[in-house]
């Protein structure tokens, strides 16, 4: 526990961790503020092409003048001789936390996953860089214990960071919705679902960080650990996971399992867009990869010379 305590303190004292959180919060506040300010209520209208009369679909009343920003495509329909009515209008762009938070969590989650790769890899990469791992091993020579403590510290640290960022996202969107948006559908089920989703994202980010950390422990360079996972993203888009034989690589790549935990689009027609695995399948695949990479890197670390 003392080793884990020291590793956790080291993790959270790192400038890159604090900077990442600060940048994430600033970006969230900026994006939500802009979205809130620019958000507009949507309108649906119906125009009678024969008479040119415009009716508000929601209220059923005839509209004499359209609100600012709503444009009636007069040139396309007025006097065109096309019988019947044409609907037009604009969609609602106001912040709607109840409706949009799930999708925002998915998008932010993928971004956080890649940040987790960088933070996990650099946690030990920086130690190789300055040589501080040598000093640590002179204090605690049990390398498996050091390896385990570092991996757990990375997992806990990244999970806490991810949950904090997602909490800021949810809070910012809720405030934006209350100030100038829509607050609808926020009930116990919503909170429970989003909490579950946030935990899945945090779990995926933690696992991703542990994988990147373990790879860097062997490669000894942060760039190697990060690159391995960034390259998978390219690989996943180049190789169709359902086309064998090469598809098996894409199908069972670690990133595929991590993405399945964050992005759940089982109905998408695009095989590259949707998660290939179910959430449970993604969790199993991720767990297998974490165990394999953690044990292999630990065995290597136990036998290697540390400088």
């Amino acid at each position: 526990m003392r080793q884990l305590d020291a590793e956790l303190r080291r993790f959270f004292a790192r400038r890159i961790v604090r900077s990442t959180f600060l940048v994430a919060v600033l970006l969230i506040v900026l994006v939500v503020t802009i979205s809130t300010a620019k958000g507009r209520a949507g309108h649906e209208y119906q125009v009678d092409t024969a008479t040119g009369r415009i009716t508000d679909v929601t209220t059923g009343q005839v509209v004499k003048s359209l609100p600012n920003g709503d444009q009636y495509p007069r040139g396309a329909f007025a006097g065109s001789g096309v019988p019947g009515t044409v609907e037009f209008g604009q969609s609602d762009t106001r912040v709607n936390v109840g409706n949009d938070l799930a999708n925002v969590f998915q998008g932010v989650g993928v971004g956080l996953l890649f940040a987790a790769f960088a933070l996990g890899a650099s946690f030990v990469g920086a130690e190789y860089n300055v040589g501080s791992l040598t000093t640590q091993l002179l204090f605690e020579p049990r390398r498996w214990r050091v390896h385990l403590a570092k991996a757990i510290a990375v997992a806990i640290g990244i999970a806490a960071l991810t949950l904090a960022v997602l909490a800021v996202v949810a809070l910012a969107m809720y405030v934006g919705s209350e100030v100038h948006g829509i607050v609808h559908g926020i009930d116990a089920t919503f909170v429970s679902n989003r909490a579950g989703q946030a935990l899945r994202v945090a779990g995926a980010a933690s696992a991703g960080a542990v994988l990147a950390y373990s790879v860097t422990l062997v490669a000894r360079r942060s760039s190697a650990g990060m690159l391995l996972f960034f390259l998978q993203f390219v690989l996943l888009n180049l190789i169709n996971p359902v086309k064998m034989p090469w598809g098996v690589i894409s199908h069972y790549a670690p990133l595929r399992g991590l993405i399945a935990l964050i992005v759940h689009h089982p109905q998408s027609a695009d095989v590259q867009e949707r998660a290939v695995h179910t959430i449970a399948g993604g969790a199993v695949l991720t767990a297998i990869w974490v165990v394999i990479v953690f044990v292999a890197s630990g065995a290597w670390f136990e036998r290697s010379e540390v400088r």
């Binding site: 040589g131 040598t134 000093t135 091993l137 002179l138 605690e140």
Partner: protein, 303 residues
């Protein structure tokens, strides 16, 4: 005398593009408990590799390494409980303060901030303890490394080139620190290329060359060992020729003196030989050898 560290036929080979390079080629060395022991050797002789093998940073060395009675690396945990070490350059997180770095290290062993303050004061770093490590001078970094080595209050202190970057007062402080450890009955192993410093600080030394120990023993024994030089002053110019003819190695020293190599226990033979030739000398004095002379003499003899 029990051994603090024992190396028995230790072999370490590194692979490089040029092939396999032996760093330790059958190192046999026993470092006794108590006192300050110096490890001398040229760059690449194997000093740091031997130290790395002893503190468990290097794994896979052939042969046997025992530290404080424990086999390395099998019983590394038990051994390192009593070992404080500074290996190569002091390595800490550059953006953390000296104090923060020591606190994080200390936490792994359950040391509190009082112990951290204690060792910082002992190495004279208390005033700058809260500055970032990256802003430290080379000497201050070295002091922090020594402070980290002292944290465990070790029975065996291993210092690899501790005088690096230190100013003369700093070197003196490190020497006093090592001596104070020795006085307490603990063991200090120090590797250094500053031979004069080793000569002043160490009770015993070992000279390592090409991965093997070529000499080991008390400093005083090494300085007195082998053939010593004596300065001979005589009024008769034939004196050097007489001694050379008798088989001694003679070298010029000054206008009216010369140096002769002779076993210290047989220096009276010089007097006798000259007297037999009717020459009476006015001076026969031993020329003090330094550790540097011994080191160069021994290492130059190596193939």
């Amino acid at each position: 005398m029990a051994a603090a560290i024992e190396f028995e036929d230790v072999r370490v080979t590194y692979r490089s593009r040029r092939g396999r390079i032996p760093a330790l080629a059958g190192l046999d060395l026993s470092i006794p408990e108590g006192g300050v022991f110096g490890l001398l050797g040229a760059n690449g002789a194997g000093k740091t590799t031997a130290i790395r093998a002893a503190v468990g940073l290097l794994r896979g060395a052939a042969g046997r390494v025992r530290v404080l009675g424990h086999d390395i690396p099998r019983n590394i945990t038990a051994a390192m409980d009593g070992v404080g070490a500074l290996v190569e350059q002091p390595s800490f997180f550059p953006n953390f303060s000296g104090r923060r770095n020591l606190e994080l290290l200390g936490r792994t062993r359950g040391f509190g901030s009082a112990r951290v303050d204690e060792v910082l004061d002992r190495v004279g770093l208390g005033v700058r303890a809260d500055a970032r490590f990256a802003t430290y001078s080379l000497g201050m970094k070295q002091r922090l490394g020594i402070a980290a080595a002292l944290m465990k209050d070790p029975q065996l202190l291993v210092l690899d080139e501790p005088a690096n970057g230190l100013d003369p007062p700093g070197i003196l402080e490190v020497r006093n620190l090592m001596r104070s450890f020795a006085v307490e009955g603990r063991t200090v192993l120090v590797s250094s290329h500053i031979l004069a410093e080793v000569e002043h600080a160490c009770d015993r030394v070992a000279i390592v060359a090409r991965g093997r120990c070529i000499a080991s023993g008390r400093v005083s024994d090494l300085l007195q060992g082998g053939h010593a030089q004596f300065r001979v002053r005589a009024s008769d110019a034939r004196a050097s020729d007489v001694l050379r003819a008798a088989g001694w190695t003679v070298a010029a020293d000054g206008d009216d003196s010369f140096l002769v190599e002779v076993d210290p226990t047989r220096s009276h033979d010089v007097t006798s030989a000259l007297a037999d030739a009717g020459i009476y000398l006015s001076e026969l004095s031993p020329v003090a050898r330094s550790l540097e002379d011994v080191f160069l003499e021994l290492t130059e003899e190596q193939p």
